[in-house]
Each structure stands twice: as C-alpha cells, then as structure tokens.
C-alpha cells in the first residue's frame, strides 16, 4: 500500500475519532482510534525505521503513552480504581494525537523531498 494512502487513512481516522469522541460514540471512537494508531505505527516504521532512536521515541511517547492513558482511563471508568479524577489523561491524549499525525506528515514530506 502506498504511504500516502496510509497518511490519508490516518488523517481521516483522526477526524473521525474527534467527531465520534465529541458526540460520545464510544464504539466508533474506539474503532477510529485503533485505525489511527495502527496507520501511524506503520507510517513511523516505514518512514523512520532506519533512525532507531527517533522511531522508538515516537512509539513510546506518541503511541504507547496515550494508549496506556486511555486503557487506565477506561479501567477507572469501569471499576472506579483511582482516587484521582483520571479525566485529565484525555487532555494528554488529545494533545499527542495531532502531534503524532504532524510527525508522520513531516516525515513523509521529508522522505518525498529526499527521494
């Protein structure tokens, strides 16, 4: 699959996840989120796999961290685990998602320019 298709799917899923989140459509939001992070993981791998430090930094901070935050939040909503109000993790997630997309986009543009 060409990389620009992955980039388009990532963009579409980012928009879809924002809309579904805003209107509290949880299933659609989960699906869009899964699509977004899958696309971006592949994009990061194909675009920066030869820069191991850069690749793992992206994976740890922009993919694993927000997913972990969302899992903890979901567990807290279901089981009331923590004393703290965990809704602040959504701020982290919604700040990091556009950052991840921009990183993928910039990496793609740089790859196209250098090709």
């Amino acid at each position: 699959m060409p990389l620009y298709v992955l980039l388009l799917i990532a963009f579409a899923s980012l928009i879809a996840s924002a809309i579904s989140y805003f209107f509290a459509k949880i299933k659609l939001f989960s699906f869009a989120l899964l699509l977004f992070y899958t696309c971006n993981t592949f994009l990061s791998f194909f675009l920066v796999h030869n820069h191991a430090v850069f690749f793992y930094t992206i994976v740890m901070f922009l993919i694993v961290l927000p997913i972990l935050c969302l899992i903890l939040f979901a567990l807290d909503v279901h089981y009331g685990l923590f004393c703290i109000d965990t809704s602040f993790v959504l701020v982290i997630v919604w700040l990091l998602m556009p950052v991840l997309f921009v990183v993928s986009l910039v990496s793609y543009i740089l790859k196209v320019i250098h090709a």
């Binding site: 989140y21 805003f22 209107f23 509290a24 004393c83 703290i84 109000d85 809704s87 919604w94």
Partner: protein
C-alpha cells in the same frame, strides 16, 4: 466516672467548605459536647474548635496548583493517614473537595473507620462514572440538592438529603438594609450587577465579557447603572484593572454580596453557588459559563446535564437564561439583559419560577439535619 471523648476527623479544603464545616461542628457539639474534632480546615473551623493538622488557608488543590504544591499535598496526606492510624477516630467527615478527600476516604475505609461525605462533589454534572469510587469509599452521603438523592440512590449509595447549608448562612447573616438603600440612592433604580465569581480565572474569563455587554446595555438603557461584586480584597486590583479598559462607569463593591444582589434589578453571574444566593432574593438573572474551545471539546462527552445553572437544574427547566460560551457572544447577553430589564412579563415569569423553587428548597437547618444524620450513624457504631 469520667466522660469518654469521641474523636471525629473532619476535612474541608476550600473557603465555603470551611464555613459549612464550622456550622456542622457547632451543631454536632450542641448535640454531643463530648466530641473532639481533628482534621483539616481554615479559620472558621478553627474557631469552632478544630484541632487542625494543617492550616488550609493558603492551600489550593486544583489543577496546576496541585502540581506545584505536590510535596505539601503528600505531607498533608501522610499526616492525616498517620493520625487515622494512631488515633482511630470514630468517624471521618469529608466536606466537598474530592481531589484530596477521596484519598482520606480510601485510607479510612482500609482502617474500617466510617466515612461520611457531606456536600458531594457535583458528579451528576461531569464525570458521573466517579460515582463508583464514591460507592467504594463512602458509608453515608449527605447531599444538599434534592435531585442528588435519586442520583446516588440509583448507584446504591446510602444517601440523605439534608438541605443546602448556604441557606443557614443567609438566614444567620441577614442583609444590611442600610447598604442596600445607600446603593440604590447612589445608582438609581435600574442596577445591573455582575458577579463573576471568587476565583481569579473566572474573573479574567467573564468580567471582560460582562463589561463589553455593559457598554451596549448602557447605550440602550442610559438609566442602567452597574455594580461589580468583588468577593475579597485580593481581587480588587484585578477587577479595577479590567474595568479601566471599558468606558462604562462601574462601582466595585468588596464583600456585601447579599446587599449587591438585593439592590439589583438584574444579576449576571457565572455558574456556581452564587446562583442560589441570587435566586434566594428572587432576582432575575442571566447565567454564563465560559471555557476554551479545547476544554469544551474535552469535557463535552461527559456533560450529562442539559443545564449549567443550578436553578435551571433544580427546576429541571430553563427559568433563567443561561449559556455555555466558547467564544465571546456579547450580543446574546445584551439581548437577554434588555428583555429582562424592559419586559415586565418575562421578568415576572422569572421571579415567579424562582419563588416556587425557593419555597421548596430555601429552608434553613441543613447543618442541623446533617448533624442528626451523623449522630444516628455514630449511634449505631460504638466509638
């Protein structure tokens, strides 16, 4: 035989919690003088007899303040838990302030000390899933709004509606009619008052919008005069600085909130407990809440109530115009204000609905009822 003292741990963080906590302590002591109070509070609770583990006067546990004061927060938590472990009080009473009080509740539950939560955080308005934490942590919940009872009962939490302690305070304090008369004499009969709230962020967010609207209201109704309620001296310079940017003359009144409300023809306020004070004096009002578009986006899926104003939520219908704003919309505010000032039918309808609501809820005795509930609970558990 010497009388055995009963130790109760009580925790309140913010200034309103301190006032309500002090009233509750006095009521409990009237009914059982053997009680000794330990815990966290401010000057009012200290005056009522609290043996404070920490003074909460300069502490804030909201948002960034919580991060900057993290070490103080951890020290406070550690001291409270040590106290609970060593002294084993017969009950823990928590007043609002769930950011910190949930930790105390968790520690008390582990030690099998009964936890009573007085004035629940507004979980019904945002983050209703937190009710599961509440259920795990609390033995008895004393709520201040009638609709909260069914909300918590449905979640399986033992709950009692005791009334709002704010009405105890209003009845106790009363109104200085001299100040009301003086304000009316100085400003005339058409007074519009702005009550932006007691927090700095609220003032910065709301006051420019209020004043922008005041300029337009003054153009359409030249007899209208404007009052700004400043809850304490700390914010006077801030408010005064903001008013200088606008051409409309405004009088800033520090304190005397009841008098400001009573002298007004219309109150424009931020969403908060102040709404109940305005409703108590049956004054037509407009309720505003302003947040950033990003904060609105984050919070939107969790907003479970269609109303932001307490009076509308309590009445379950729109009796006072309200709006949650992401961007400044002074045209809407001006339009509503002019209607409420110039249209006698709309004014009267608002006053009528407020009076029906106040007949139902504005009764003093909340602290007394809460004290009875607490003593009932303690009676069943020997200290």
């Amino acid at each position: 035989m010497p009388e055995i003292s009963r130790k109760i741990f009580i925790s309140a963080g913010d200034p309103s919690g301190d006032i309500h906590g002090a009233n509750l302590m006095r009521c409990l002591l009237e009914k059982d003088h053997k009680i000794t109070f330990y815990g966290l509070g401010r000057e009012n609770m200290a005056k009522a007899g609290l043996h404070g583990l920490h003074d909460m006067s300069q502490k804030s546990l909201m948002w960034l303040h919580a991060l900057t004061g993290l070490s103080a927060f951890l020290r406070m938590k550690k001291d409270c838990i040590r106290f609970l472990r060593q002294e084993r009080p017969c009950a823990v009473i928590l007043i609002d302030y769930c950011g910190f009080n949930f930790y105390i509740a968790s520690a008390a539950k582990k030690l099998d000390i009964p936890v009573i939560y007085y004035i629940s955080p507004q979980l019904w308005a945002h983050g209703p899933w937190r009710v599961k934490k509440m259920k795990k942590l609390v033995d008895r919940l004393l709520v201040v709004y009638p609709f909260e009872k069914s909300f918590y009962e449905n979640a399986g939490i033992p709950v009692a509606y005791v009334g709002h302690p704010l009405f105890d305070e209003i009845h106790k304090e009363g109104v200085n009619e001299g100040i009301v008369t003086e304000l009316k004499k100085q400003l005339g009969e058409t007074i519009v008052s702005f009550l932006p709230g007691s927090r700095r962020q609220e003032i910065v967010r709301l006051l420019p919008l209020f004043l922008q609207s005041a300029v337009k209201i003054h153009q359409k109704i030249p007899s209208a005069q404007f009052l700004i309620s400043c809850s304490n001296d700390q914010h006077f310079d801030l408010i005064s600085g903001i008013t200088k940017e606008f051409t409309v003359p405004c009088k800033i009144v520090v304190g005397s909130v009841h008098e400001v409300i009573k002298a007004s023809s219309l109150c424009i306020a931020g969403a908060g407990t102040i709404i109940l004070q305005i409703a108590y004096y049956l004054k037509p009002m407009i309720i505003l809440y302003k947040i950033s578009p990003f904060a609105y986006f984050i919070a939107k899926p969790f907003l479970t109530t269609p109303y932001i104003g307490l009076v509308n939520k309590l009445a379950d219908k729109m009796i006072a115009p309200e709006r949650l704003m992401c961007k400044v919309n002074s045209a809407w505010l001006v339009n509503q204000a002019i209607q409420l000032l110039n249209n006698p039918q709309k004014r009267q309808a608002c006053i009528h609905e407020l009076s029906l609501l106040m007949d139902e809820i504005a009764k003093p005795g909340a602290s007394e009822h809460a004290a009875d509930e607490i003593l009932n609970l303690l009676g069943s558990k020997p200290s």
